[in-house]
């Protein structure tokens, strides 16, 4: 199945209650698939094409505030527009799932794949001190599985979760195993606005506090939640790290290309491994820190001008040299040039 379509099908199967979106390349197949499939008939899931990404994310806010499983998807320029709403969702502590099928920027940029929205995704993206949980699939299968996981995490922490994909994964055809249809939840969480219950206080969904002390309390609660997320939810994979002297760090589709470069290097006798963060927030900082102690150098490979490399450097904290290799603006690096970068920037450097 095509990545975007598999992801849309996964949303139906994960028991999503609603999807609100606005077309943008390279992710329009998500809403197109949903409109074609008409999940209202299958599960009762609502699908609506909004007038803008701003409207779409605020529809997500409204439906999420009713305790529903809600999803939206877009690509970079549209995600920028959504960031106001995401900040409000994080502040009001509502669960939701966002998908960013990243394309090259800045500005209108290009429709080709990119990873240049890493900073925006992992540092919060909108205003205020908040975090999204960020999942980075490298395969169509993973983007399907992360839809289910994403909803689970969103509700576990009452926090926005983002799947940070890219145009390669969104547009690629790959075999996938879809999970079984899950029923839509009938639960009414006590924080959801579903109509005031007699004898109970009315429910208010808001991110506003007039007193700074109260707003600080909200922030402290959010920070405590993020510490829990960091403790419990880190996911990553390592390849060939047991005997490695050098390490690649790469995520998403770029990790697949980097893996090829790793195999080519191994054939040449270079002992190099790879770490692939599957969660970008929380970041596998401890794992990278530990690995760095026995590495002669680390090369991050990204389809951007150097973003994750900053988090890798923080984790490594000077224990070994960390360099970055990237192609950007929609250009996909080849395994050959990645290997060359390793030889020049790390081994030769």
């Amino acid at each position: 199945m095509k990545g975007n379509e598999a992801l849309a099908e996964a949303a139906i199967r994960a028991g999503a209650d609603a999807y609100f979106g606005y077309p943008i390349t390279p992710q329009s197949e998500v809403i197109e698939y949903l409109m074609r499939e008409n999940p209202a008939d299958r599960t009762g899931m609502q699908v609506l094409q909004a007038e803008s990404e701003i409207a779409a994310i605020n529809m997500v806010y409204g439906a999420a505030g009713c305790g529903k499983r809600v999803m939206t998807s877009s690509s970079s320029p549209g995600i920028s527009l959504k960031m106001e709403g995401v900040s409000y969702i994080a502040g009001a502590e509502l669960p939701c799932l966002l998908v960013n099928v990243v394309r090259g920027g800045p500005g209108l940029g290009t429709i080709q794949p990119s990873q240049s929205d890493y900073f925006q995704a992992v540092k919060g993206g909108g205003h205020g001190d908040y975090k999204m949980i960020v999942l980075a699939p490298a395969t169509v299968q993973e983007s399907v599985d992360y839809v289910k996981l994403g909803f689970e995490l969103a509700f576990k922490y009452r926090n926005p979760v983002m799947i940070l994909s890219d145009g390669i994964i969104g547009q690629m055809m790959e075999k996938v195993e879809l999970f079984e249809q899950q029923p839509r939840s009938k639960e009414e969480p006590e924080w959801a606005t579903v109509g005031k219950k007699e004898g109970k206080d009315s429910v208010i969904v808001t991110s506003l506090q007039l007193q700074s002390e109260e707003q600080e309390k909200v922030n402290l609660r959010l920070q405590a939640k993020y510490r829990e997320v960091e403790k419990n939810e880190v996911m990553y994979e390592t390849y060939n790290c047991e005997d490695a002297e050098y390490l690649f760090a790469a995520f998403g589709s770029c990790a697949r290309i980097t893996r090829k470069a790793m195999e080519m290097a191994r054939k040449k006798g270079i002992k190099v491994g790879l770490i692939r963060p599957q969660t970008l927030y929380p970041f596998p900082a401890d794992a990278i820190s530990e690995l760095s102690e026995r590495m002669k150098g680390i090369l991050t490979v990204e389809m951007n001008a150097g973003q994750m490399v900053e988090d890798v450097r923080l984790a490594v904290n000077g224990k070994t040299p960390v360099e970055h290799f990237g192609r950007f603006g929609g250009v996909i690096p080849s395994p050959e040039e990645i290997l060359e970068a390793l030889e020049q920037k790390i081994i030769g450097g």
């Binding site: 409204g62 009713c66 606005t193 208010i204 808001t206």
Partner: protein, 255 residues
């Protein structure tokens, strides 16, 4: 006479609706927001739909509307209330959903959300408080500020050549097939207060029919923003606002 001898059942002619909480309103003395709140609350009360109503508060002076309406409520980002209400209504179609918005919220930053919610015919009630000014942020020019009207960002009066014209967004949404009932009211005299309440009640009743958006504008005063006493502001409103924003029904359901 003690309070208890006055407050006997036979003396009781008027009670605060239980859809309003006991919190003290933060609005300026004489401001139209308080009366508009109360009329909406009484309409909800009289229809017996308190437990089935979900409101959306805007960003503006009524940002804290959820302190006063004793119904489940969500606080929306500036201008986004109609989108938030759409999200709510689409997943809870059986509930009564309303937004309560000022002119800056509804007719400037939220114009797209307003027009498109009305154009889709979302089955929600939009309550639009038009006081021709940004009250909350200290009296700046609003999209509905009249020509020549002074505000902190039009200190020499609104010059329509450079600042645009006062926007009749209510007439605009009435043009859209998605709206079912569109009316303009006020709350500055007892008779007008009663009419406003009737309109709000009708609009909520219509929501059951699933026929489209109901849009109730309330032309209101902002004594603080206009720098007038409440009495002066009501007079000024009658003389200046009503000629440009005439009261009455703009679109009524066909019989």
């Amino acid at each position: 006479m003690s309070e208890n001898t006055i407050k006997t059942p036979e003396n009781l002619v008027y009670e605060k609706t239980s859809v309003m909480t006991d919190r003290v309103l933060h609005y300026c003395p004489g401001c139209g927001h308080g009366t508009a709140h109360r009329m909406l609350a009484e309409a909800i009360d009289e229809l017996g739909i308190q437990g089935d109503t979900i409101g959306v508060a805007p960003v503006g002076c009524s940002v804290l509307a959820y302190y006063y309406f004793d119904v489940d409520m969500q606080e929306a980002a500036h201008g986004r209330a109609p989108a938030v209400a759409t999200g709510i209504k689409r997943v809870l179609p059986e509930k009564y959903v309303f937004t309560y918005q000022g002119d800056g919220d509804l007719a400037a930053i939220g114009t797209a959300e307003t027009i498109h919610a009305c154009n889709r015919g979302e089955n929600i009630l939009v309550v639009f408080i038009n006081n021709g000014i940004y009250g909350m942020t200290g009296g700046q020019m609003a999209p509905t500020t009249l020509e020549g009207m002074k505000s902190s960002t039009s200190p020499r009066g609104r010059d329509v050549k450079t600042m645009g014209n006062p926007l009749k967004i209510t007439e605009l949404v009435a043009q859209l097939p998605g709206t079912y009932f569109v009316t303009r009211q006020s709350v500055h005299t007892p008779a007008n207060v009663r009419k406003t309440k009737k309109a709000l009640k009708k609009a909520l009743e219509y929501q059951k029919l699933n026929k489209g958006t109901c849009f109730v504008e309330v032309v209101a005063n902002c004594p603080s923003g206009w720098k007038m006493t409440p009495v002066q502001s009501n007079k000024w409103m009658e003389e200046n606002m009503f000629p440009y924003y005439p009261l009455g029904d703009i679109k009524v359901p066909e019989k």
